[in-house]
């Protein structure tokens, strides 16, 4: 699979920042759209702009979706919750990683969240994991798009294509895996959530198929 370009990486970081601003404790494909818009320097954001989608309007629309209960409203982060109990999450993370190593902490986190329930002490998510990354499928589809087109790097346009493809596929899917459902309940998303991009763009008056075609045309101009 081709690696992400610097710009695509930056837009992923901006998506994370946007999720934080909204008080969302997960990173979904809808935040990727916001990340692309916030960067504003890529062809992908220009295509979105030509459809009349701006960062301001997309943020406002996501806020309205939160009022409708499609996505959660602002929630305190794990660090804030533990801070209220007098625990400094960053200090705990730093100390344990120093004592046991970065890798060991990550592996323990992985094992604990996937432990069989009959062993006891089952937790879906831990504060040491960071927010759940629910845009994984969209990002994977973006790499597949880039590879199918023979491009050497995943550009923001591929990311947007991946997000759109993810929205199309999840509209056909009925529900995610058991673990997916546990995680979305943990971050306050409604049952049956598989990404809110489709609803977000529809509410902004964008036709998904026409947007996909426009992004594909934009990609035609990129040298492999």
């Amino acid at each position: 699979m081709p690696p992400r370009s610097e710009q695509a990486d930056r837009e992923l970081e901006l998506a994370r920042a946007e999720a934080d601003l909204l008080g969302h404790r997960y990173l979904g494909p809808e935040h990727l759209v916001l990340g692309v818009l916030r960067d504003g320097a890529s062809g992908a954001s220009q295509v979105l702009g030509s459809f009349g989608v701006t960062l301001t309007s997309a943020r406002a629309e996501l806020g309205r979706l939160a009022d409708r209960g499609v996505v959660p409203g602002p929630r305190p982060s794990d660090a804030e919750l533990l801070g209220a109990l007098g625990i400094d999450l960053d200090a705990v993370r730093r100390d344990t990683e120093q004592a046991f190593g970065f890798r060991a902490v990550g592996e323990a986190t992985w094992r604990v969240t996937r432990r069989r329930s009959w062993r006891g002490g089952r937790v879906v998510w831990t504060p040491l994991c960071g927010p759940p990354f629910l845009a994984k499928h969209a990002v994977q589809l973006a790499s597949e798009q880039a590879r199918a087109l023979g491009h050497r790097e995943v550009q923001p346009e591929h990311l947007l294509l991946g997000v759109l493809e993810d929205a199309r596929q999840s509209a056909a899917a009925t529900r995610g895996s058991r673990r997916h459902r546990q995680i979305i309940a943990h971050v306050g998303l409604p049952d049956g959530y598989l990404g809110a991009t489709g609803l977000l763009l529809a509410a902004l008056g964008v036709d998904l198929d026409r947007l996909r075609d426009a992004v594909a045309v934009e990609l035609g101009g990129i040298r492999p």
């Binding site: 934080d20 008080g23 533990l82 062993r119 831990t126």
Partner: protein
């Protein structure tokens, strides 16, 4: 929606927490439980790697040796890797 407004709202929610508001109090407990489970797993794994027996580990955790074995036994926590 202002960026500053959204984030300050969130911090206010967290600041006003204690145990009064169930919405925040319960979420804080869940976060704490997640943290505890990881720390316990790290400590048990470390103790096993240093050759501690299940009985010794269980005594420090305040549970029976069967309980800690039931929860952590497996290839990863065995004495021989």
């Amino acid at each position: 929606m202002g960026e500053a407004a959204a984030s300050s709202e969130v911090t206010q929610v967290a600041a006003a927490t204690s145990s009064q508001d169930p919405e925040v109090g319960l979420a804080a407990v869940a976060a704490l439980r997640g943290l505890v489970e990881v720390l316990e797993a790290l400590q048990v794994e470390n103790a096993r790697a240093k050759g501690w027996s299940w009985r010794q580990i269980a005594a420090r955790l305040g549970v029976t040796k069967q309980a800690v074995h039931h929860k952590y036994a497996g290839r990863r926590f065995g004495l021989r890797r």
